[in-house]
Symmetry: C2
């Protein structure tokens, strides 16, 4: 069993590795977890000793298969608890992240299996993110970042990769949510911001930064 701290590092490493496919730097993790880079170096060594990551001095870490497996189980728990809160406890999808961050660290395989069963073995969570099965397998899904979308194409929001409260509240305010149907009306060359039509009802301007944190499927 791993400590809560190790689990949080592994999850952060996994998510960054998945989106870049490259070694994960100390700075990237320091920023994500809001801690000092020196602390990250310490933990990189520790995770390396446990063979959860491959650590090359001054070059960052890559998760091993073992590390990925642990990360996927945490993601599975996080997403199942979020689904539970929305489906059974009537939370709205933008309120559940913080609490799921705590619930994901409860250790009990049988609890999670039963929860999965109660929820009817969902494949995607309320944010549209895929839920790994108990073997760590992700359901098939072709998604791209909205920032890489093409003008005129229709997309459906399938995931939100920046989970800060501020961002989720912002999305809520402008009327964007997982499942929203959007299409790109135009893209501003100079700063990468885009005009978006949401559910064919209204148009908004989205910054490049925001668009880089939204996954969409065609």
């Amino acid at each position: 069993m791993h400590t809560l701290t190790e689990e949080n590092y592994l999850k952060a490493i996994y998510r960054i590795y998945e989106s870049t496919g490259d070694s994960v730097s100390t700075t990237a993790i320091a920023e994500k977890l809001q801690i000092n880079a020196a602390s990250v170096t310490d933990m990189f060594k520790k995770l390396g000793q446990q063979k959860l990551v491959v650590y090359e001095k001054s070059r960052g870490v890559k998760p091993t298969d073992k590390g990925k497996k642990v990360a996927l189980q945490i993601l599975r728990k996080h997403r199942l608890w979020e689904t539970f809160m929305v489906e059974k406890l009537k939370f709205s999808w933008d309120e559940v992240h913080e609490v799921a961050e705590q619930l994901e660290h409860v250790h009990s395989d049988i609890l999670i299996e039963r929860l999965d069963q109660l929820l009817g073995y969902p494949k995607f969570d309320p944010h549209g993110d895929p839920i790994p099965d108990k073997n760590g397998k992700l359901p098939a899904q072709v998604s791209i970042l909205l920032s890489q979308g093409k003008i005129g194409h229709p997309y459906r929001i399938s995931g939100v990769s920046e989970n800060t409260d501020a961002f989720l509240k912002y999305l809520n305010k402008i009327g964007l949510a997982p499942g929203s149907h959007v299409s790109i009306v135009e893209i501003e060359e100079f700063d990468g911001s885009m005009k978006l039509s949401i559910d064919n009802k209204k148009e908004i301007i989205l910054s490049r930064q925001a668009a880089e944190n939204l996954s969409v499927v065609s």
Copy 2:
């Protein structure tokens, strides 16, 4: 917010204080939490500084109103999660304690309120123990220890105060559970063991020690 460790101390202190009405000793807590007495002294000081207990050197602690309130909220969470696991996830009542020990430390008032609502505001958990409401109020219940029961009297098992896996499994094996109707057939003078009739179906011998860890209501 208190640390997980502080919460566990407070819970242990509260439970012992409630059953004895007297100051709680370092040894009692050391034994309950399976740690060294010297460590307990450290924590007694810390909890004292936070006004969660009144600590008198070499004389133990008593929980303050503030400390009781915290302990009751943890008990509330523990018992609601146990109820959830039994009612919604089809666990049996003797399997849920360990996991509830983890879940009780998740911090979210709204989560617990919604869970309470989902469960229909239960007053007692699957072990027969009373669930404090969100203000810390316990439902009325007159219970005594089975060891203090009288020969010939019928009782209903309302609570189990020793939550070790071993004891719960033992109860399961001999066919005792919260809600069981028992009556005391005879009490052995020399060691305080008692012959018990369970649900008018079978008779068993229960040690004094076991009888001291079962609460019953008339």
